[in-house]
């Protein structure tokens, strides 16, 4: 460490270290990526078989898109904290890194993973589900961007909470459902507007809710994380 280094620089280095550690670890073990990819492929295949050759309304198909993204996120994004607890490395992180740097690094990792998950799901969904067409791409792109940020932010703090519990598998969906419900209802509504070909201005209300949701979740998480993170 040089004398000129500021606390902000050290914090950024620690945050980057948490992110890169998770990323390298994921590339070597592929725990989350494998779970996410398999879940998305399986779920879209089941939807295809269930629909058969018959179409469904844009409302139903918009909802199903987010059902796939939601459950895939549940199976993958929680691993970031659960793995630390299961492997016993959480204490090493607690001892070495500032709690805010741990949260920021994990959030960054989940944002990247969540964005990848959303892109994969949307591409496969648009390609295979023939009844689902997007007419207003500006609404659709803004929705999937804000939706995946909100999903990653909420999943990160929920994962931090459940990683401490003995009943992780049960607690995650129970805890995440009420927290993610406002997000899911809003993204489904905005996706339906995009499928119906509504002008961008029609979705302003949904975007305001999504941005407010992200700000509230991230702010609350930053304030609470230190208490969740310590034993």
């Amino acid at each position: 460490m040089t004398a000129a280094e500021t606390p902000v620089r050290r914090w950024l280095r620690a945050t980057g270290a948490v992110f890169m550690k998770d990323w390298r670890s994921e590339l070597r073990t592929r725990y989350a990526i494998s779970a996410l990819v398999m879940f998305v492929i399986t779920t879209i295949s089941i939807i295809l078989f269930a629909l058969g050759g018959e179409g469904a309304s844009p409302e139903v198909l918009s909802g199903m898109l987010w059902v796939v993204i939601f459950f895939a996120a549940m199976s993958g994004l929680a691993r970031t904290f659960v793995m630390e607890e299961e492997r016993g490395t959480a204490m090493m992180l607690q001892l070495t890194a500032a709690p805010s740097a741990v949260f920021a690094g994990k959030l960054l990792f989940n944002l990247v993973l969540g964005a990848g998950l959303t892109v994969l799901t949307v591409v496969l969904y648009l390609f295979f589900i023939s009844g689902f067409t997007v007419q207003t791409y500006s609404i659709f792109l803004a929705t999937i961007t804000l939706g995946s940020i909100g999903l990653a932010a909420a999943s990160t703090i929920i994962a931090a909470i459940i990683a401490r519990a003995n009943t992780k598998g049960t607690l995650y969906p129970v805890l995440s459902f009420p927290i993610l419900l406002p997000l899911l209802m809003t993204v489904i509504s905005a996706t339906r507007l995009a499928a119906d070909g509504m002008p961008f201005s029609e979705a302003f209300g949904e975007f305001q809710i999504l941005i407010s949701y992200i700000v509230v979740v991230v702010t609350t998480s930053i304030l609470l994380f230190e208490y969740i993170w310590k034993d």
Binding site: R9, A17, T89, M92, Q94, T96, A101, K230, D231
Partner: protein
């Protein structure tokens, strides 16, 4: 900066079961604190409290330099070796060293890391994933990680666990050197592991 660690009226209870109570001590630069006690007497719990990883039910621990340090600053001064502290076993020894430094917000010095690993007889395996290490090699790596940021306080919980005679000799030298660098805290079942004890906390029957 010369540090002093003080504890006053420390009490710890889990689910209303008191592990220990009435613990007081003060230890300064160049001194050794020995935490002794039977299995289950709370040695590791006391170590975690000292490191800021657990909050005591009652009393408090203070680390003071020029002024009292908060819990984050306290952790920055500590190097911990303990059986419950795990390393990232998908990474190599060198990657673990770099990672630990970066997590602390510090710049890595590969030369310094290599000489530490060399001292702990791990240099030839520095690029191998840790999952292939024996438990003794992992214990040596924990020493390298604990010493990498030149801590003022070295905290050792069961310092000789899993080590062979060569490893034990290295650890005894590390403990002796720590007297020059700062404070040494050792929690052990076997007090003969430690020489030159200045302050002893016996956790047997401290409920």
């Amino acid at each position: 900066m010369e540090l002093r660690i003080s504890a006053r009226g420390l009490r710890m209870a889990f689910n209303r079961r008191t592990i220990f109570a009435g613990i007081d001590f003060s230890v300064g630069h160049g001194e050794t604190l020995l935490v002794a006690g039977r299995n289950g007497s709370g040695k590791s719990t006391l170590v975690k409290i000292l490191c800021g990883l657990l909050t005591p039910t009652g009393g408090k621990v203070e680390m003071t330099g020029k002024k009292p340090l908060d819990v984050h600053a306290r952790r920055g001064q500590i190097g911990l070796v303990a059986p419950y502290l795990q390393v990232y076993d998908e990474f190599s020894a060198m990657e673990n060293m770099r990672l630990t430094m970066a997590l602390r917000g510090l710049l890595s010095d590969d030369g310094a890391h290599r000489s530490l690993l060399e001292r702990l007889a791990l240099d030839v395996r520095r690029s191998d994933p840790v999952r292939g290490f024996s438990s003794g090699m992992k214990q040596r790596l924990k020493y390298a990680l604990a010493l990498s940021h030149r801590p003022s306080v070295l905290v050792l919980d069961e310092p000789m666990a899993n080590l062979d005679t060569d490893g034990m000799a290295i650890v005894r030298t590390i403990m002796e050197e720590q007297h020059e660098k700062g404070i040494l805290v050792v929690a052990t079942n076997d007090p003969s592991d430690v020489t030159a004890v200045h302050t002893r906390v016996d956790l047997n029957d401290r409920r």
